[in-house]
């Protein structure tokens, strides 16, 4: 996927984080993921940055909320909405200049949510082969979905191996809340 593809809104073309920005904020995201892993939580770090300020931060809250949609990105997006409300700023104009930094490729649901809120750029570490919505399972980020917000640009592969290692370590431990998996034939 070419980095220039997937930009629909005009504002997006001129809006892109610098390499230094990506390095800086991705290292914060990795720090969050590492902390989560050490406390036995899903090792995904996720933050949303608007004008060099973190306006949303999230970790996976599926187990405590019993709501399977509470992925780190969804939690972070809620914080962005709250931040806009507190700052009396228009959600759309903030979101159009907000970058998501996340250690793992957002899933199909989160990718669609990011589109609905017109987030223009997503930087992520490793791909998400099970649920990925930026090309791994489906490419929601650049699909033609005129009723589902705007397409977004992906900057992928930043410290990908490290992100994979953290996930592998985590998934070696079992999720006690999940039902016993059925054996699959294929």
């Amino acid at each position: 996927m070419g980095p220039e593809e997937g930009c629909e809104a005009e504002a997006v073309d001129s809006f892109c984080p610098s390499d230094e920005d990506v390095d800086k904020w991705m290292s914060s995201a990795f720090h969050m993921a590492r902390e989560a892993l050490e406390t036995g939580e899903v090792p995904v770090g996720c933050l949303m940055v608007y004008k060099d300020e973190v306006v949303g931060k999230g970790r996976n809250e599926v187990n405590e909320t019993k709501n399977a949609t509470r992925h780190a990105e969804m939690v972070a997006l809620d914080q962005v909405l709250d931040w806009c409300r507190r700052s009396s700023l228009d959600v759309r104009s903030v979101c159009e200049q907000t970058v998501l930094y996340v250690t793992v490729e957002p899933c199909i649901m989160c990718a669609a949510a990011l589109r609905l809120l017109n987030i223009p750029v997503v930087a992520y570490g490793c791909s998400n082969e099970r649920f990925g919505g930026c090309g791994s399972v489906l490419d929601v980020s650049s699909a033609h979905l005129p009723q589902t917000g705007t397409k977004f640009k992906c900057v992928s592969g930043h410290r990908a191996e490290e992100a994979v290692e953290m996930l592998k370590t985590f998934y070696k431990q079992e999720n006690p809340n999940a039902p016993k998996p059925k054996t699959r034939k294929d």
Partner: protein, 346 residues
């Protein structure tokens, strides 16, 4: 919710106004793909089994186990009533003039007449419509999934089942209208525990207050609330409600083990007035929904229109989706939404 249920139980005949059709995977709904092959008439009927044996070893039809090797000619009174499939055109040796000799070196050629090209189905048919189309080209075997056949005829659900489905979707329509009254898009959804015949949650679109609070997302959080979780408060929307598990669910002593506690949307059905978007469809995958019923399609819908997320091979949870439940009433809701767009100049 109880009075509403009683009200709709009396109107079972309304359920005759719609038909629920399954939303099948692309493999199940695509056209029959054909590939070219050489066939030849069998001159001497008595040699058929011998010829089939030789052809099977010379040209095994790998990956085409659904194709029958021999067919009876359609026209009656032909001198050679049987025809045999020799090989795929792509497997045949390169040659200028096709003859039995060139196709079958070393095989006694007088058993076969002049070869000709036929089209055969490339894949095993998965549904009866595919089977019927495939069989028009060449005899094909078919392992029928009876439920899919009945569902494609729109006859999977009995009149009493349809009456119950009608009632659930009617609750979703009512919720959609309540949401519309609050200035939201007219979309409603209901989560049902089919084993207990119980509504677990009713919700409507709330995106006027939160852009991601589509009716399905609202319902998923209400289900979480019913299980002691959840992260939003929908108390300011009177039509968004959840029912805590009934007391007798806790009285069954042995069932109190962790395994019998409700786990997100496992085993539950969702009724939603219009086809969910990508976000909501994937949220239902994550929530392990049992089945989904929707009224009418939507432009970016992810259960049939743009994607078929419920049948996506790479995902770890797949489920049945049916469309058309209360289609007329659900389409009428869409026209309410069109008015919203016109009013706001979008």
């Amino acid at each position: 919710m109880e009075p509403q249920m009683k009200r709709w139980k009396g109107s079972a005949c309304d359920a005759d106004s719609w038909v629920a059709y399954p939303v099948l995977s692309d493999e199940q709904s695509q056209d029959v793909e054909l590939i070219e092959a050489f066939a030849a008439p069998i001159v001497n009927k008595k040699e058929t089994s011998q010829l089939v044996r030789e052809l099977n070893s010379l040209y095994p039809l790998n990956g085409l186990q659904h194709i029958k090797r021999v067919r009876a000619r359609k026209e009656k009174g032909s001198p050679h009533p049987l025809e045999v499939l020799v090989c795929l055109v792509s497997d045949a040796p390169d040659m200028k003039v096709v003859s039995v000799d060139s196709l079958l070196p070393g095989v006694k050629p007088d058993g076969l007449g002049e070869p000709f090209v036929v089209k055969v189905p490339a894949r095993a048919p998965l549904t009866r419509p595919q089977f019927e189309l495939a069989s028009q080209h060449w005899p094909t075997s078919f392992h029928e999934d009876k439920q899919v056949t009945v569902a494609l005829r729109g006859e999977l659900f009995s009149p009493p089942q349809k009456a119950v489905m009608h009632m659930y979707m009617m609750s979703a329509v009512t919720a959609a209208k309540a949401g519309r009254e609050l200035g939201m898009e007219a979309v409603g959804a209901v989560v049902v525990d089919p084993a207990m015949e119980r509504i677990v949650a009713v919700g409507h679109d709330c995106r006027g207050d939160h852009p991601l609070h589509h009716a399905v997302m609202v319902c998923i959080d209400l289900v979480a609330r019913s299980q002691g979780g959840g992260c939003y408060c929908f108390d300011s929307y009177p039509a968004c409600q959840f029912t805590p598990p009934t007391s007798n669910m806790f009285q069954n002593g042995p069932d109190l083990e962790a395994g019998s506690q409700p786990y997100i949307c496992t085993g539950y059905d969702l009724y939603v007035t219009r086809e969910p978007c990508v976000m909501c469809a994937m949220a239902l995958v994550h929530s392990r929904i049992g089945r989904v019923f929707y009224g009418t399609g939507s432009a970016d819908g992810a259960f049939g229109t743009k994607f078929k997320i419920h049948a996506q091979k790479d995902l770890n949870h797949r489920f049945e989706v049916y469309k058309g439940v209360l289609s007329k009433q659900c389409e009428d809701l869409s026209s309410l939404n069109d008015h919203i767009k016109k009013d706001s100049g979008q």
